[in-house]
C-alpha cells in the first residue's frame, strides 16, 4: 500500500527524516513510535503532502506523492496532531465541507455518507451542534470522521489520542480497530507505548529521523528480551532486560539492592535501543 523510498527532509542543516526506507502492507495497522522530535510528524506531513520532500519519494497504492499528488489526495485520509475542526461549523457541516472538498456532488450520497460516519463515530445526536461545544474526545472522533468522508484507502493518524483521558483513548482504539477491520490500512504515530502494543500489527521505532527498529510488537520483545529487572541505586532507577525469567532471577539474586522482575514492554525495547525513554 505504501512504499517509502529513501525519503529525506532537511530543515536547513538539521536532518528531520534521514533516508527512510519502509513498506507498509495493505490492511495493516502500522505504528511509528518515538520521542518528540524523532521525525514522526515530519514523515507523516511529507506523506500527506503537507511538507515538501527534500529527497526520495513515496508511492501510495501505485501513485507517486511527488508526481501524482492529485491521485494521492483521493487515496489518503489525514487526522493531524492538531485539532483542525472548523469551530464555526456544526459537526454535520464540517463533514459536509470535507465532502464538498472531495467533490462528492450528489446530495443524497453526501447526506448518506455523513449520516453513516456520524453513527460510526457516535456523534449523531450532536451533529447539529457547533463543534466548539464538543468535548476533547468528541472533537477527535469528528476529526477521524472528517478523514473518512471520501473513503480513503490509507489513513494517517498523527498522535490520535494525545491529551485524551484513558477511557476516551480506549474508545478511540476501538474506532481505529473497526476501521481496520473494514479493510483500511492505518499508519499512526504515537509516543504511547501501550497504544502501539494494543493496536499495531507492526511497529517502527524512530529516533533522530531514522528507523532504528521494525518488527511486530512481540518480535521486538523477542529480540530484546522478555523480562526486566528493575532496582534503585543511589536514588537512580536502573533496569536490564533478559531473554528468560531464569536469567533475570539469577541477576536479581546477585544484586545488593531490592529488585523487581516484570514482563518487558515496548518502552523497555525503546530504552534498550536508544538509551532513553520514549517521552523524554
Amino acid at each position: 500500500m505504501l512504499k517509502i523510498q529513501n525519503l529525506c527532509k532537511n530543515f536547513g542543516t538539521r536532518v528531520a527524516v534521514d533516508n527512510l526506507i519502509l513498506e507498509i502492507r495493505t490492511g495493516e495497522i502500522f505504528g511509528l513510535l518515538g520521542p518528540n522530535g524523532a521525525g514522526k510528524t515530519t514523515l507523516v506531513r511529507m506523506l500527506t503532502l503537507l511538507a515538501k520532500v527534500t529527497s526520495g519519494t513515496a508511492i501510495i497504492d501505485g501513485h507517486d506523492i511527488l508526481t501524482d499528488a492529485d491521485s494521492v489526495k483521493e487515496l489518503i485520509g489525514v487526522v493531524p496532531q492538531n485539532l483542525n475542526l472548523d469551530y464555526d461549523l456544526t459537526g454535520w457541516e464540517n463533514l459536509q465541507l470535507q465532502a464538498r472538498m472531495h467533490h462528492i456532488t450528489d446530495h443524497k450520497e453526501c447526506d448518506g455518507r455523513i449520516a453513516d460516519i456520524l453513527a460510526f463515530v457516535e456523534l449523531t445526536d450532536r451533529a447539529q451542534d457547533i463543534c466548539r461545544t464538543y468535548s476533547g474526545g468528541m472533537k477527535r472522533r469528528l476529526m477521524i470522521g472528517m478523514a473518512l468522508v471520501h473513503k480513503p484507502k490509507i489513513l494517517f493518524l498523527d498522535e490520535p489520542t494525545v491529551g485524551l483521558d484513558p477511557q476516551v483513548r480506549r474508545k478511540m482504539w476501538d474506532l481505529i480497530r473497526s476501521m481496520n477491520a473494514n479493510g483500511m490500512t492505518v499508519l499512526l504515530t504515537t509516543h504511547y507505548i501501550e497504544e502501539a502494543e494494543q493496536l499495531c500489527d507492526r511497529v517502527g521505532i524512530m529516533e533522530l529521523g531514522k528507523l532504528i527498529a521494525l518488527e511486530t510488537p512481540s518480535g521486538l520483545l523477542e529480540k530484546v528480551g522478555k523480562f526486566v529487572v528493575e532496582w534503585m541505586k543511589n536514588e537512580n532507577s536502573n533496569s536490564r532486560v533478559f531473554a528468560t525469567r531464569e536469567e533475570a532471577m539469577a541477576f536479581a539474586a546477585e544484586l545488593e539492592e531490592n529488585a523487581t522482575i516484570r514482563a518487558a514492554n515496548l518502552e523497555d525495547v525503546f530504552i534498550e535501543l536508544t538509551g532513553r525513554k520514549v517521552n523524554e
Partner: protein
C-alpha cells in the same frame, strides 16, 4: 482548468456563507457603528458649515466613507479569520490536503470578502438615506465597488498568509489601512498636499476607488485610469495570495 474549479470556488465561499448566515446580526450591527460615528462626527458635527464643490460636506464624504468602509470590511472579514485559521486553528491545512486548487481557494475567499464589503456599503447607503443624502448607485457604481472590495479582499488573503503572528495582522492594518483611510480622498481632497505626496497618494489603491465612487455618485465622468490602477492592484494582490498559499503547500 480543472472541471471542478468553479465548484471548488463555491465550496470555499459556501463555508464562509454558512458562517455569515449564523453571525449576520452581529455583523450588521457592528458594521453600522463606525460609519455612523464618522458620519455624525465629520459629516454632521464638523462638516455642518463646510461646502465642497458647491455641495454639502455630508454628500462629499459618503462616497469616501463607502470606499473606506468597503475596504476595511473586505480586508478584515478575510484577513483575520484566515490568519487565525493558518496559525491557530489549523483549518487551512484541511484545504491544502484536499483536491481544492490554490486559485479556487483564493477566489472563494475573495468572493466572500466582496459579499461582506457590498453588504456594509448597503448599510452606509441606508444611514445616508436616513440623513437625507441620496447616493446614486446606478451605472458603474456597483461594479467599481465590487472591484474595490475585490482589491482589498485579495490583499487580505495575501496579508493573512504573509504575517507571521496575529499581532502582526493588527500592525499591518495600522500601517497600511489606517493611513489610506484618512489620506486617500475619503474625508478631504488630496489637492492640498505637495505634488509628490499627491502623486504618491494617487497611486494607492483606495484613492482611485474613492475618486471613482464619488464621481459616479455625483453623476460625473469616470476616469478609466482609476479602474486601471485598481485592476493592476487586484491582479498583483491575487497573484501574491496565490504565490503565498502555493508556497505554504511547498513548505
Amino acid at each position: 482548468m480543472n472541471k471542478m474549479f468553479f465548484y471548488d470556488v463555491y465550496t470555499v465561499y459556501w463555508r464562509d456563507w454558512i458562517v455569515f448566515t449564523r453571525t449576520y446580526k452581529k455583523f450588521l450591527l457592528s458594521r453600522m457603528v463606525t460609519p455612523l460615528l464618522y458620519i455624525l462626527a465629520f459629516g454632521i458635527g464638523l462638516g455642518r458649515n463646510i461646502s465642497v464643490d458647491g455641495g454639502s460636506y455630508l454628500s462629499f464624504i459618503i462616497p469616501g466613507m463607502i470606499a473606506m468602509n468597503s475596504m476595511n470590511i473586505s480586508f478584515n472579514s478575510v484577513a483575520s479569520p484566515l490568519n487565525m485559521s493558518r496559525l491557530y486553528y489549523h483549518t487551512l491545512e484541511t484545504y491544502i490536503i484536499s483536491p481544492i486548487s490554490t486559485w479556487a481557494f483564493v477566489l472563494g475567499k475573495v468572493f466572500s470578502g466582496i459579499l461582506r464589503g457590498v453588504i456594509s456599503t448597503g448599510i452606509i447607503w441606508v444611514i445616508a438615506y436616513a440623513l437625507g443624502v441620496k447616493v446614486y448607485v446606478g451605472g458603474w457604481f456597483i461594479p467599481v465597488l465590487i472591484l474595490n472590495c475585490g482589491v482589498f479582499s485579495a490583499l487580505g488573503v495575501a496579508a493573512a498568509m504573509a504575517m507571521p503572528t496575529h499581532e502582526d495582522m493588527g500592525n499591518f492594518s495600522t500601517y497600511v489601512l489606517v493611513p489610506m483611510s484618512f489620506l486617500c480622498g475619503t474625508f478631504f481632497k488630496a489637492d492640498g498636499f505637495p505634488p509628490f505626496i499627491k502623486y504618491f497618494l494617487n497611486l494607492l489603491p483606495l484613492t482611485p476607488a474613492s475618486s471613482a465612487l464619488r464621481a459616479l455618485a455625483q453623476h460625473q465622468l469616470l476616469h478609466w485610469s482609476w479602474i486601471a490602477i485598481m485592476g493592476i492592484y487586484l491582479a498583483l494582490f491575487l497573484y501574491a495570495s496565490y504565490y503565498l498559499i502555493a508556497k505554504k503547500r511547498e513548505e
